[in-house]
């Protein structure tokens, strides 16, 4: 049964920048349907951990097993695996030179057209499919009227919701969120968190780095508390937020709650 096997296995992950060890031998598994929320003080390595999961940072040592392959191995074609791992950034990173619609369609069209043609579709048919899908995603977030504008005209909340559906357009098996609301004005945090929550309810596997503790408690099936490049404590939201064991966790939660 597929679900017994973890979707992502992290084994003895080490990441260092020169002499600076940011991740010090981390091991954990992420299972299908899990919503793992990573919290911790700044500099604890949360973002680096997340960025190692799709090798946006190359791990210095250790293994990341995704779909039976160690994607930390430089010989593995990482692009194929990234197509199955959506990522959402703190700074949105929408493509500035593309319209909203193009932002969503670009990667599917570039990456999958060849395959579609091999399956007997014409390029135009496939492009139309990508267009329909992109418009459907835009309708879902209520921004279909923004399809043909450029990102520079949008609010932060709109940008981030588009960045999320851009990742969804690739039909990923897991979504990685790197502080998705940290760069937003307070009144826009809600719309982004609501969308993430919706995805969570639909069963999407996700790993979320966030400072929104209320959101973490609500959405997480498991919380990782990171400190000094290690997972200092992990457990259900109730365990971590209501009954933390590690003094570092206690100290951190006291500071942020």
């Amino acid at each position: 049964m597929e679900n017994n096997k973890p979707l992502i296995e992290v084994k003895n992950l080490v990441k260092s920048f020169g002499d600076n060890v940011v991740l010090d031998n981390i091991s954990t598994n992420i299972h299908h349907g899990e919503k793992v929320v990573v919290i911790g003080p700044s500099g604890s390595g949360k973002s680096t951990f997340l960025r190692c999961l799709n090798c946006l940072e190359d791990p210095t040592d250790g293994e990341i097993i995704f779909e039976n392959e160690n994607i930390a191995d430089p010989k593995v074609d990482i692009n194929i695996h990234r197509q199955n791992m959506g990522m959402v950034f703190q700074q949105f990173n929408l493509f500035n030179n593309k319209t909203v619609l193009e932002n969503i369609m670009l990667a599917p069209v570039i990456i999958y057209t060849k395959k579609a043609v091999a399956e007997g579709k014409t390029k135009e048919q496939f492009k139309k499919e990508c267009y329909d899908k992109a418009m459907e995603l835009l309708r879902r977030i209520g921004l279909e009227d923004k399809a043909n504008v450029y990102p520079s005209t949008l609010s932060g909340g709109q940008k981030q919701r588009i960045a999320i559906v851009r990742a969804l357009a690739m039909n990923p098996k897991v979504m990685l969120f790197d502080e998705p609301t940290s760069a937003l004005d307070p009144e826009m945090v809600g719309e982004v968190l609501d969308l993430i929550k919706e995805l969570a309810d639909e069963g999407m596997t996700m790993v979320i780095v966030t400072h929104e503790m209320g959101f973490a408690r609500e959405v997480a099936t498991r919380v990782l508390f990171m400190a000094d490049g290690n997972i200092a404590e992990e457990g259900t939201p109730t365990q971590i937020f209501d009954n933390p064991q590690n003094p570092r966790t206690v100290q951190f939660l006291k500071a942020v709650l």
């Binding site: 990173n93 500035n96 670009l106 923004k146 851009r166």
Partner: protein
């Protein structure tokens, strides 16, 4: 008095431009100048963008270290020596047995311009936010695909004004090829003066021709800038209607 003056002005101009079909000399010179400048701009752009891309990718991926070094040495040498010496080295030494002076001039200025374009393009690439590349890669696009669809278009847009500045400088700078006897527009006034004994008009005519070329380039830049401004904040609003 006025009448006499205007008559002599006209006759001098006529002598400098129309008599004995001299206008053909200007046009031929102008043609050569344009050939040298266009070929040089192409060579320079290819060299410059390649070097800048090597530098950018080296910075982002840590690969291509050797190429990046070579590019930097090249840029240092070219920018650190006078172009007239580079011209003489190519004309009298490297291509000593080749009699196509115009092409030698074009190659010289292409190699020279490449170093400057490299610096301009480097700034262009650096102006593109790192997040753009990361977003492309995170979706599963390759480095090459992300460069082509995302990074390069934005880099080009950001470095168009300095790039056209370089092209404008290049057009005027090519007048140096006269130094080794190549018949470009800058060389023509001297030739005509040696027959008409008037310097003013031949020089003014040549200057006006250079100016016309520069104005055309400026116009092209404005058209391109307008076209590319559509993703800017105000341009985007218009586009979104």
């Amino acid at each position: 008095m006025e009448h006499i003056l205007s008559a002599s002005v006209f006759s001098k101009f006529s002598k400098a431009f129309f008599e004995q079909g001299r206008w053909k000399m200007y046009l031929e010179g102008l043609g050569n100048t344009i050939i040298i400048a266009v070929v040089a701009a192409l060579i320079g752009t290819v060299i410059g963008v390649t070097f800048a891309m090597v530098n950018y990718l080296n910075k982002k991926t840590g690969k291509l270290k050797v190429f990046s070094r070579i590019a930097n040495v090249y840029i240092t040498i070219i920018r650190g020596t006078p172009v007239v010496l580079q011209l003489m080295i190519l004309y009298f030494v490297v291509f000593a047995s080749w009699d196509n002076g115009i092409m030698i001039g074009a190659i010289t200025f292409g190699l020279n311009s490449g170093a400057y374009v490299a610096e301009i393009a480097r700034a262009g690439f650096e102006s593109v936010d790192d997040g753009q590349m990361e977003a492309g890669r995170s979706l599963g696009m390759s480095t090459a695909q992300t460069m082509w669809h995302i990074v390069i278009p934005q880099a080009v847009k950001n470095c168009l004004p300095p790039l056209f500045n370089e092209f404008i400088t290049l057009v005027k700078e090519t007048a140096i090829v006269g130094y080794v006897g190549i018949m470009d527009l800058g060389k023509i006034p001297g030739l005509i003066q040696s027959r008409t004994f008037d310097y003013l008009f031949p020089l003014v005519i040549a200057a006006v021709m250079y100016l016309a070329v520069v104005l055309v380039l400026t116009k092209i830049l404005h058209v391109l800038e307008k076209k590319m401004a559509k993703s800017d904040r105000n341009g985007g609003a218009v586009n979104g209607k």
